[in-house]
Amino acid sequence: MDLEKLLSFDWGLMAPEFIILIATVLLTLLDLFLPKKVNRRILGWIAFASVLVAIAALGGLLGEQVGSILHDTFRLDSFAKAFKLLLLVGSALVLLLAIDYQPKEGLNEYRGEFYYLFLTGLLGTMIMSSSGDLITLFVGLELLSISSYILAGLRKKNLKSNESAMKYVINGSISTAITLFGMSYLYGITGSTNLKAMAGTLTTLNDPQYIYLLGLSFFMIFVGLSFKLASVPFHMWAPDVYEGAPTPVTAFLSVVSKIAGFVILIRVMVSIYSAIPMEDGTTPMLFGLQDFIGFLAAVTMIVGNLVALRQRNIKRLFAYSSIAHAGYLLVAFTAMSYVMFDSIWFYMLAYVFMNLGAFAIIQLVTTKVGSEDIAHFAGLYRRAPILAVTMAVFILSLAGIPGTAGFIGKLNIFLGALMVSPSHYVLASIMIATSVISYFYYFGIMTQMFFRPRAEEGKLKVPAATTAVLIICAAATILFGVMPQLAFDFLQSNFNQFLDFMG
């Protein structure tokens, strides 16, 4: 390919990715050449700034038509833009948390690495959100995975951190192998890795043997990707890894990485498996196999919420809660109503704010005492009333109490599950029942904070960056809870119901 051809592509579409990439390179070099004395925190601020610039660049691209580079190996459609926005916002918030992260032992030497590995992980998620080719999707996925393996183990003097990283690598690699095995069959039966071309080939298929193999590949890919979602059956790594990883990394895994997982899942599943006709020749495979996904969603919700009841470690508790949230999102995915994209997007938006807000406080409370037992939240209201109330906002939102963004998110998913025909009554009921169960552990934290005498003495000092995260998250959680239409208007005016997803 000569230069002229190379320049003929609209590389401007990749502006946000380029910004992150350049920032990564810059940080790497700076970290290498800056004298040891310079506080590496400055790198964190640079990373944060680069994410903000990337958001701005993405904002500039919002009005663009669907753009594609090199046979969809990069593709910027409204789906990509919408979810990339979430990924960037989530990462920006996590970075702010990371800047303030001061564990008792060992992150200081590797602070610089921390920030740019973070950015590469983000780059991976962004690529995953805007690609129409299996190979690019795979590379993006792995870029994210490998970055997060390292991030999880970055406190290398801490045994828990090592162990968490090891567990993450082993489970992650197995999941990769399973996904790839499924993908290889997909490639074999379509002869292409381009999602659109694959869908085109698949619509004409009617050999039952091919359909059967495609069905098998469906499960392989779904289960493989459920590792990233931390949903059943590939969910069990999550609590261990979340507990052991440094807190900002946990936040990253439970928010950004999970969103990326859903993004790739939707991208692959919706574009490929909705094109495959089942035996009767009319129902697409994705709908034919809805019961399976629904079942997994139900089990995910049940497992996540039930086991969470037993947890004493706050990070583990949030791991299970995040498993449960993956289950709620899968309900929306199962229902496949025409508002699926909207409701998933909104739920994730709410989830970004409420979960990261909660993690900000968790980080604040746990690093102070160096332990993650829930008991350290006892009497938080006495120690720091405003902090406790803010935490209460996040928890109420996670629990789905009205007036918060979490409620609207759940409501959307719920209505979506009932709007389609046949309605998913059972799934919807399980969703309600399990969210009721979730009240118990969420309110357990509330009880600790409000109804217990204080456990720790001393004021909690809230650093500047964390304060910013808290304010943003709390404001957004309430704002989108009271005026959700803002978000939906934004969706409608900019993304036009994601009509260009397939086109």
């Binding site: 690495e113 190979i135 590379v139 390292i150």
Partner: protein, 175 residues
């Protein structure tokens, strides 16, 4: 079916590959296991040649039989060498049994789909200038993932250094 040379080669290579795998499962010395797997990797390279993927065959030998096996051996040496695989701890039996069932079921389900699979397509000339074809494709259509790959390798590189480097215990001076 005639016993063409190709078929014979396939049978041989497949046997070596599988027996390498089986040895992996049955040997007790860790180093032996790795060596057994090297045989598997090499015979897989042979399979690639049968499938007109000469470039990949070379890559396979270089990376798997060479680089990765060496890394593994280094890994073994740097940790507890001469380690022997012991009998699994309690509770492991049930898990193994379940797993075996699962693996067998998995194999059976897939085998049912592929045992008589035949696409009946005409093969294209992949072996002609195999490396060139790959190169052209890689640098035209797949530039983006290729470049991303470089980032990925950078990440792995940095990560490997950071994690395996032995820190001098002089943190007091650094701060």
């Amino acid at each position: 079916m005639t016993f063409s040379g190709e078929f014979l080669a396939f049978i041989l290579l497949a046997l070596v590959a599988i027996s390498g795998g089986v040895l992996l499962l049955n040997l007790t010395k860790v180093v032996h296991m790795v060596v057994a797997l090297v045989f598997t990797f090499i015979s897989i390279a042979g399979i690639y040649i049968l499938l007109s993927a000469e470039f990949l065959a070379v890559v396979q030998v270089l990376i798997y039989s060479g680089a990765i096996s060496i890394i593994m051996l280094f890994g073994i040496m740097l940790t507890k060498h001469n380690d022997e695989e012991e009998a699994t701890a309690k509770g492991g039996k049930w898990r193994k049994a379940f797993l075996l069932l699962g693996v067998l079921a998995f194999g059976a389900v897939f085998y049912a789909g592929i045992y008589n699979l035949d696409f009946g397509s005409t093969p294209v000339a992949l072996h002609e200038n195999n490396a060139e074809q790959i190169g052209i494709s890689l640098f035209s259509d797949y530039v983006i993932p290729f470049e991303l790959m470089s980032v990925l390798l950078l990440v792995a590189f940095v990560g490997a250094i950071v994690l395996s480097k032995k820190d001098e215990e002089k943190e007091g001076e650094k701060e």
